[in-house]
């Protein structure tokens, strides 16, 4: 069959089908882009390298057995949660920095936006793909961490039982309880959730920066800078609001830092959770809301700038 014969049998949609199809904000459209983005990201080597690295780091804490179990659990938790924190942050920045520039370089953005796809849907779909990727990474690393923690806890329990084989039962029970309580803490879960939200915030902010950045390197460098300053924002903020003697230029500088940068230190709850401080619902809820707020704002601003971008 020649092309022309084929083409004659090609159906034409009628006007009513056409009219029904276009909707200003379409979830299925956004989801199509999300899924597409996720597949694209999981094919990149950087994702697997970071993931494997993080898991290795978490696994390496098994070699801390020479310390007392309290010290060992302390170090294990600190290293694992630190690994999860830095790898999700790194992944958020690196994966997102290339998202829009890559599409523009490859011209695939033309094919997508030449369809009836609003730029807003496109931006939201892209960032949603990254957030999904981050969620998967966090779950995998979190699972790895909990498995290692469980294994070490079991080892410590057996060692304790061996050491205290002659002791009275209530003392033994006390000792075992001490091991268990210094190992697993239910507050680790909200702590990890907040780490995830911090990564989401960084991804959204990277997307925003990439909309007006001139190259991917520029975006990554700017984000590294923002990451660093963001951890100092709290200090700058207090200094700005309390110091009354410094020069005007210092105060202006501190004001800009305070207003423009997010307080990243606020999302580091795990250090204190591992130290034993309990996390209240109020703190968790407020921090979570702050994270969602930042992520949303940066995404909206990214869409806003992208809307006017010359392709």
């Amino acid at each position: 069959m020649t092309n022309r014969e084929n083409a004659s049998t090609l159906q034409q949609f009628d006007a009513s089908t056409r009219a029904k199809r276009y909707r200003a904000l379409s979830l299925s459209r956004i989801l199509a882009i999300t899924r597409n983005t996720l597949i694209e990201l999981t094919r990149q080597k950087v994702f697997y390298v970071l993931l494997v690295f993080a898991l290795l780091l978490i696994g390496s804490s098994i070699f801390m057995a020479q310390f007392s179990f309290q010290q060992e659990f302390q170090i294990l938790k600190d290293i694992s949660l630190g690994a999860i924190s830095i790898f999700t942050s790194l992944l958020a920045i690196v994966a997102t920095a290339r998202l829009l520039p890559q599409d523009m370089e490859d011209r695939i953005v033309y094919t997508i936006l030449a369809k009836p796809v609003p730029r807003f849907d496109y931006v939201v779909g892209k960032i949603a793909g990254v957030l999904l990727l981050l969620a998967i990474s966090t779950l995998v690393m979190g699972a790895g961490f909990l498995i290692v923690l469980y294994m070490r806890e079991q080892a410590a329990l057996h060692a304790t039982m061996r050491q205290m084989s002659g002791a009275p039962p209530d003392q033994l029970a006390d000792a075992l309880r001490a091991v268990r309580s210094s190992a697993f803490d239910a507050d680790l879960f909200p702590g990890i959730a907040i780490i995830y939200l911090k990564a989401c915030l960084l991804a959204a902010l990277t997307l925003f920066v990439s909309t007006f950045a001139t190259s991917t390197i520029f975006t990554v460098v700017v984000m590294a800078f923002i990451y660093f300053i963001g951890h100092l924002q709290a200090t700058a903020r207090e200094y700005w609001l309390q110091e009354h003697g410094s020069a005007l230029i210092t105060r202006v500088f501190l004001a800009v830092v305070t207003l423009l940068f997010p307080d990243l230190q606020a999302f580091n709850l795990v250090d204190d959770i591992v130290a034993g401080t309990a996390i209240s619902l109020a703190v968790f809820a407020k921090t979570a809301v702050l994270g969602v707020f930042y992520t949303t704002i940066y995404t909206l601003l990214a869409a806003f700038v992208f809307y006017g971008k010359e392709l």
């Binding site: 302390q74 660093f228 423009l260 709850l269």
Partner: protein
């Protein structure tokens, strides 16, 4: 480009909006002891450039742990001076981890002090004792600062009480700190007993000690441990408590 500028302006505007929220959250953190650590140039010199940056970027826990591992290695080499330095950094970075204060104090007051006392290179006893007492003081200092940072947890009070009891032989202070620990949430039940025990060794506080021990005895069989009974009997003798008010003889029970 115009849009980017507008976006930044919006960010600054929103910055004003988020400012009270962030402050509120920070206050909440402080209230619940989610405290960060004060950074200053001093700290930077102490832990080096890289460590400072890492700590700043939210990895102070890992930096502290790395230093802790170094301190452990230093202990294996009995480098007491280096250990002291490392523990100062560690407790600065992680003031809320009791383990670090406790371990630091233990190394100073129990290990370094013994090493100083048995120092073959120092022939003069007086100087060895002086060194030993200096280490006691360092241990005490760690625990006191630890308590200042963690006033709500009993562990360090107990450790300090132990230090006073075992190293300074200061039963009064030991009793005081055991009592303080006992009032805090999560304190083990023996803190009250220990406080009373220590008090019973104090000259001039026998009456008070007796009242406390008797009170504990009266609470029930779970408090009637051998040591408690022994101290109670000792005080009964010393204070000349009348026979009818004394606790019954339990000699057959203690002899097994």
């Amino acid at each position: 480009m115009m849009r980017a500028v507008m976006a930044l302006a919006v960010l600054i505007g929103l910055g004003l909006l988020k400012l009270p929220i962030e402050r509120n959250l920070a206050a909440l953190h402080r209230q619940e002891h989610f405290r960060g650590v004060e950074f200053n140039l001093d700290l930077r010199e102490k832990i080096g450039q890289l460590g400072f940056i890492a700590a700043l970027s939210g990895f102070r826990a890992i930096v502290a742990d790395a230093l802790f591992i170094q301190a452990h290695a230093a202990w294996e080499n009995t480098e007491w001076g280096r250990m002291l330095l490392l523990f100062r950094h560690i407790t600065t970075l992680q003031p809320r981890v009791l383990l670090f204060w406790d371990t630091a104090a233990w190394h100073m007051a129990w290990n370094a002090s013994v090493a100083a006392m048995n120092d073959q290179k120092q022939p003069r006893l007086a100087l060895r004792v002086k060194a030993q007492r200096e280490y006691f003081a360092l241990g005490k200092d760690f625990l006191e600062r630890g308590i200042k940072n963690n006033p709500d947890r009993p562990d360090l009070y107990e450790a300090l009480a132990r230090l006073y009891k075992e190293k300074y032989k200061d039963h009064e202070r030991a009793a005081e700190y055991y009592a303080k620990a006992a009032t805090l949430p999560g304190a083990p039940i023996f803190d009250r007993r220990f406080s009373a025990y220590e008090l019973s060794y104090c000259e001039g506080r026998e009456r008070e000690a007796y009242e406390r021990l008797r009170g504990l005895y009266d609470e029930g069989p779970q408090e009637r441990l051998p040591t408690l009974i022994k101290r109670l009997k000792f005080l009964e003798e010393k204070l000349g408590i009348p026979e009818d008010q004394r606790i019954p003889d339990k000699e057959n029970k203690t002899v097994k």
